[in-house]
């Protein structure tokens, strides 16, 4: 059982590596460094995930803040 889990995890990890890397030639005069490019993709995924999660967190906490915003909004609303 544990052996098959390892195989699945290994296949997944390999899939991720193949997804984020390819052997296309880079268009730069500067050698970006293969290790550095792998790192930028990891950092990019992490940064984008954190940004998205922060967005969700903001929405969730916004539910609790809504009452305050409504009060503030109503005070500045122009009469119809």
């Amino acid at each position: 059982m544990l052996g098959s889990l390892d195989k699945i995890a290994g296949a997944l990890a390999l899939g991720v590596v193949f997804y984020i890397t390819s052997t296309h030639e880079s268009f730069a005069y500067l050698d970006p460094g293969a290790g550095s490019m792998i790192l930028t993709s990891i950092l990019g995924i992490v940064a984008a995930t954190i940004y998205t999660l922060k967005g969700y967190m903001h929405r969730i906490t916004g539910v609790f803040r809504r009452g305050h915003r409504d009060v503030a909004g109503s005070s500045t609303r122009e009469p119809d």
Binding site: Y19, I20, T21, S22, T23, H24, E25, S26, F27, A28, Y29, L30, D31, P32, G33, A34, G35, S36, M37, I38, L39, T40, S41, I42, L43, G44, I45, A47, A48, I50, Y51
Partner: protein, 474 residues
Amino acid sequence: MTPEPGSFRDPGNQVFYLDEQVFRTLDAESAAHWHQLRQTTFFQALVKREAVVATETEDRPGVREQALSGRWTELLRHERIPFVSYPYEWTFNMLKDAALLQLGILEDALANGWTLKDGSAYNVQWRGQRPVFIDVSSFEPYRPGESWIGYRQFCMMFLIPLLLKAHRDIDTAALCRSDLEGIDPEEALKFISVRDIFRRGVLSHIYLHARLQARARRAEAAVSSAPPKWAIRQTAEMTLRMVQSLGRLVSKLERRDARTSWSAYEETHSYDDGSFSQKKDFVERHVRGRRWPLVYDLGCNTGTFSRLCSEHADCIVAIDQDELAVDTLYRRIKTPASGNIIPLVMPLSNVSPDQGWRGRERKSFEHRARPDLILCLALIHHMVVSANIPLRNFLDWIRAFGASVILEFVGPDDEMTLQLLKNRRNVHSGYTQEAFESVARSMFDILDSAPLKGGRRRIYLLQPKAQEPTEASA
């Protein structure tokens, strides 16, 4: 037409000088990028707020005819930066602000479908105390799926030196001066302890970076054919968020509180108020009344006299070897308004040399500009007594700049000289005011002088004599 010897790495463009102006030739691809770029709102905004150097398409037929041949199809004219400096001459906070400028520009570019093709610290120069991005040919349209190619270079030239300084207080200027590519992540890993790995930014940008780099190199070496270039499929959004997180990291980096003898100079110098004001009066009297295009303040400490001269000069280059003193000056003059003092760190007994490819890629301090005035206040005893540079040799070096000089001679009986002479009193028996004046007269006309600190010091206004000095100092 004089080509800039340091402009050759990017084959798409080349910088050259003509009639004191700075030009850049572009190949067809770079020219196409430029004509798209100059119409974008974000680029115009960057130039307007002086984050990017002012640049125009040069349309004078005479100049175009001289410059455009072979693969060059377009010609740009840049605003001239008054004094070129290099990252290994900047303080911690200058390097940090230059990094933030570069990341801010990259962020704007990515948000508008553009990117920067590199991350070099040499793409930033200083207009007074404000950094300015000078390499407009670094902008190129963002290609979908591509990551930021300049990340490794940015780490080696900006981020790793900042991390090593912030967390380990390592003098990275010496490392960056000896290797113009910056500090390699694997090399940086040797400077950090296990505990440091958990400090801000170290795990990702040094530890993981070094490990992945070593692993990738081993993998590439194992392949018998030519190693492939790896491109990473990455969205613009991912790159943008990574750049923003880099910006947040850099902005949080601070140097641990450190205090050197010179950063506290203004509180601890050996002058009483009366003598110090006599010294200031002498300098101000001889500086005011004319406009000095370029002034060097050698041994500036925290820049009291640079600031005194700033309203009479176009540009002042304030140099000291004590980084914290210079950083104090930088933080003091750092305002959003434009200024004219460029603070730099350099050991004056071992100034930046000509180096890089063929020894011409980065210019030595001596070959970079021609100052009109040199302030050399209370420096001579450090050079002659501490660094053992012969008196005549030091004055010869100063004379070679061909500028007017305000020099403060610190006599052998001054307590600061006595402190330096403590363990070697007999070695510098020739260090006297008479000897100084005799040597100075052979190279300069002494136009004025005044005693300071009850005669233990003397300040001079020196004008170089017409003939060249006998001993070459370069």
